[in-house]
Symmetry: D2
Subunit: 400 residues, 4 copies
């Protein structure tokens, strides 16, 4: 057992930290200003950051294997944390932003040659963005068997009908390709009913209706979260990813690394929040002492530090398990980090907000926006409660 990072990781950490200090943090203010007026999609300065990251070799770090940086989950995880400290800039600047990361993994693992050439290549190059269309407005999507979108084969085409929402990134015109989950065979066994197909933007019948809000935020710089209606949308059969009935398995495979990334970025956000909380409370005085001297505020700071340390170790161990025994062997831990990280980071952000007074809820500090992101992750990929039941069931099975 050894808690030190290996040298590859440590080297990349240092380079990434330098990139954050030299390029990312200094750009945050201008980013906010550009984002306020630049509509759906990343503000222009992101392109400069992307160039810079590429030149520094900080590109596609998330992707294992030949297509990307080739890091293990355990090596990439601490880098995701650092990116999470500036979550609107750093992930996209390094081509490590969701949902592209998961989509690239899907294409790298399950895509055919044509799909990889046509869509994976430009995604790896940061030339286009992508979306992942699974959640539906009319059913409880945490139960995959509820999915109502149909994908029906008709000759050499698949015909897609259905309604999706909260499809992140889809409002961005640069989002050129959609991975769409639907049912190809409602009569098959529960987990063999679903398939995934690629649907290029501007395919007739696909209507991107509106951006859903998250606690008042449109997340426009990120491409928003779209509601999309599919009406007799047709794609050639070679747009199927993997095999018919393989959708559920692909979704599962996509989940593991995504959770690591999400959770590590959340931890980076929490570290940022603690820093802001300390700085703010040290600089303000009320009733004769700094706010940092208030016992309750110190309690928040201590609790935040302790929770962060625990969360990070559990996510890192989960990454290590995924690397060593695979998704299946890390099932409990993958659920555990999904359940525990967003709610703990939400708590830390709430305390940082409270420590900032009214400013904390406003656009003058990143805290409220980060909070909304953390809060929504208690629902993303299924509400925590669904995962808790599943985790408990595995625990109980030991004694059945």
């Amino acid at each position: 057992m050894d808690f030190a990072f290996d040298s590859v990781t440590e080297d990349l950490r240092q380079r990434l930290l330098l990139f954050m200090d030299e390029c990312v943090y200094p750009a945050e203010h201008a980013f906010e200003e550009q984002a306020a007026t630049s509509g759906w999609g990343a503000p222009p300065l992101i392109d400069d950051l992307k160039d810079e990251a590429r030149q520094r070799g900080l590109w596609n770090l998330f992707l294992p294997g030949d297509h990307g940086a080739g890091l293990t989950n355990l090596q990439y995880a601490p880098l995701a944390e650092i990116m999470g400290r500036s979550p609107h800039l750093a992930p996209v600047a390094t081509n490590c932003a969701a949902p592209d990361t998961g989509n690239m993994e899907v294409l790298a693992m399950f895509g055919n040659d044509w799909q990889r050439k046509e869509w994976l290549r430009p995604l790896l190059d940061g030339e286009i963005r992508s979306a992942f269309a699974m959640t539906e407005p009319d059913v409880a999507s945490s139960d995959a068997t509820n999915i109502a979108t149909s994908i029906t084969r008709d000759g050499n085409e698949y015909v897609i009908n259905g309604r999706k929402w909260f499809i992140s990134g889809a409002m961005n015109p640069a989002c050129k390709i959609f991975i769409v989950m639907g049912k190809t065979d409602p009569e098959a066994p529960t987990h063999r009913q679903q398939s995934m197909v690629l649907v290029p933007r501007d395919t007739p019948g696909m209507e991107i209706k509106r951006g859903m809000h998250v606690f008042g935020y449109s997340d426009a710089d990120h491409g928003g979260h779209a509601e999309i209606v599919f009406t007799d949308v047709r794609v050639p059969v070679d747009h199927l990813i993997g095999e018919e009935g393989g959708g559920f398995a692909i979704a599962q495979a996509r989940l593991g690394p995504g959770r690591i990334h999400h959770c590590m970025r959340l931890i980076g956000m929490a570290e940022r929040a603690v820093e802001l909380m300390c700085r703010r409370t040290l600089s303000r005085t009320a009733f004769g002492k700094t706010i940092a001297q208030q016992g309750v505020v110190q309690d928040w700071i201590a609790e935040s530090r302790i929770r962060i340390e625990q969360l990070r170790l559990l996510v890192l161990k989960t990454a290590w398990l995924m690397d060593t025994v695979g998704n299946q062997g890390a099932h409990t831990e993958i659920q555990a980090i999904k359940i525990s990280t967003p709610i703990a980071v939400e708590w830390i952000l709430d305390k940082a907000i409270q420590a900032h007074g009214a400013g904390g809820v406003s656009q003058d500090f990143p805290l409220a926006g980060l909070w909304a992101g953390a809060r929504s992750l208690r629902l993303a990929d299924g509400p925590d409660e669904v995962h808790k039941r599943s985790l408990a069931y595995r625990e109980l099975k030991k004694y059945m």
Copy 2:
């Protein structure tokens, strides 16, 4: 001891409930649509609701004494709860919306004849709106001695310099009058340094710079929350409310009823949330049963019901104390409801959101917006932590 409402209250409750059912709830959807495009201020349909409320005798219910409906705090409180079920429509429709309510009380209690004629009259008639400018960006405003805005007498005028923010309603062009808190005498005893003056909109030197956001919401229909800069703003000396040095005392007098109103409206919001949570979870199925049948969801519903019952009783008792022994005798209870209500209602809203899945955080349900309102009340009038310290100190003094 008797927990039944008196007949005056019961009659008004029934009439108000009817108004909600016949006029307010049916207008909510159109309100949202109008609000999305109508800029700063109430959407047009509010005028119709105001006419209707006036005709039904549901007008200025909040105001005790001759100027208003003449209800006690205990009589008005349950009406505020009902209004809180539709907090963007009902309070403004009945001319019972903050911050006008508090401002009208200040003018009714402390205003001179001229001030009452010029500003109280049109406020009572619902012709104009008003703002209350106390919180400042550069200091911890919970400590009144920190207030940095200066109000300096110069001949027959007061000259105001300073910066305020989170001035609710001020972005609305219909907001015609501002009550501004500042220091007239920094050398006076701590609680005699502050004064309040009336500043009409468009007074030279008063720049309304921007609307502050609350978790991504601009609250435009409510007039937003403005940042305002005062640069050598001059008003005649008869614009002083009460006496020089009386600002702190007026602020304290204004607080008590305002807390009752806020808390009762929050309870109404919580009731709405429980209703939405029940309806939603009864209508959705996952893993073979309705979400309402999940034990954890039932736990949320039970906890919500129990917390609401406790909160309501404490607020009603506080209202009764204010009516019978006055603000001073109700000090502990006024603080207690300020501390306990927003956080409990925030919890209930959070659970209702979670029960709604992704929709819960979006614009398709009122829950996320209500949540942001409840959350910000943990900071409004000073963060809860300041009030807890003060309440604890009074408890400890019993044994000193």
Copy 3:
């Protein structure tokens, strides 16, 4: 709506407070010393307190109707709170201690003349104690249909077989009569299967095996919590309370007032804890200031005060509902106080313990013992979770 006590209540409160100050608190230390050596049952000085209470007219205050003081639930509730401040002495001194109170109510409401003469009379006179035998070790007793003890008619006798535990008071030799719940007809509808019979101490076949502990406490002064085995125990048929099949209904009727009493006594315990917490933290110094000056401790004190105020109001309203609309109409509130009071008081006691340092967990302060009592009430009469489900179901039914 009126939050003031009526004059009868106020008069009794003053007399009871005087009794506490003059007789009860001064006896606590000697009580502890006597209790350490006096085995199962009340220490000798309790007899003196009983005489004194009787002379002061503070006797059987809990009992409505002609047999007792004739108070309403709302009138008695604040007196139970005062008794709860010294829960080992005051309730028994005033003949208002559980489980006798509930048992006397059962006999007063459902007992026949012979039963009332034989058992109610000496209980009312404080000459004997009693027990209520319902909970069983081998099943989840929260589900009444699980009860396994059988009561079988055989000629003019009932024959009882079964095992009970946590039968409070039963280890006390002065406990002369047991109300035993069992099944007379396992084939009847669910809530008509159970009956209650009276079983005098020393009836052959009834073996009182041992005292169950509660977090290490035997509660010897209270008669402990016995495990009892019934092997072919025979009682004449006139020992049946009410009618065959009426056991469940009697148990329900017994519950309402008992919950009021328990909850109000818990609130009295909480008040005592807050007083002790304040006194202790004001008297100890660490790191240069009193512990009472620590922000976190002030937070505990404020939270405690706020929670107590809320709990008390809800219990009082429940008492009022029981008086005005009956047990059935107060169903939600009776469950609400059962769920919310023990856990909140447990929290307050925990904080008071923490504020006392190591002493807090020891026999030198009453806090740890009170804590164990509060904790066990989260399980008594069925775990909170069962009541939450039931309460939630009633809430959901509004929308079904």
Copy 4:
């Protein structure tokens, strides 16, 4: 970074697990029976377990260096967890029980030859027990400067006067040696005032007055928690440990490993609790399904699993830090585990108790007793709140 145990650890884990299965768990019931009557000190069967453990090479595993098994903190930690599953038997059976472990470390590190021969030797051989006398009843002992016991040099002797309490193990006649902390120089700098001296049992003037209770438990099998009065107790000067004024430094050195041991044992207790909770809820039925099928119970089980995984990793990392950078470099983590482990394990035990119904609070299951142990660790070595303040201060210092 590597989360696998090394081979030494894995081998010892397997041997210890076997010892638990073959010897410890099977002895638990008899232990309880013997303990109920065997007074202060370990029941007789412990001697057999000690012989067995010694033969199996499972002896003094806690002690690094030549005197013990020579394991690192990281190697010993998982063994302590396993022992914690049966905390009354396994630690003492393997001569790894507190406070002997800390005392042996002190003697091994700071004792002179004579002290090591006279006291360390028989402790290592498991022939005697020992105590550590630091906490005092009359002051807040978390602030070391408060210590009031005096140790005054008089010729060739030290004279000790003062009062201690909660001196664990001291009621046991086999406890032959006491390490006593007191002030040798109240005028020295704050952390140079204290010294430690060895006081053999039966030294004149040392009166062991009584055993303090912990929530009703005397912990007799462990030697209880004594109150001790020192009146002119005299020991030769060679009974000083280390140097005069070195007491605070020795106490600090003693703390680190002790916290690791305590926390890992707590985690073992938590694992035991989860197992009991699962087994019990799978075996009981209420309202038509097993209690394990209740959503709220599943929530408890999932939360317990998640918290345990997080706690364990943080304690293991702390052990690794102590091994690699020393106590000082692990300061934050040592405090973090002290703060987070007892309260989390207390929560898990509480839920396991609740899942057991009334039995959970009784002597029929180990849960209530384990709970009391976990609860008291929120106070031992200073209340959590003191450590949180200190941890927060270090966090804030980064930005000062």
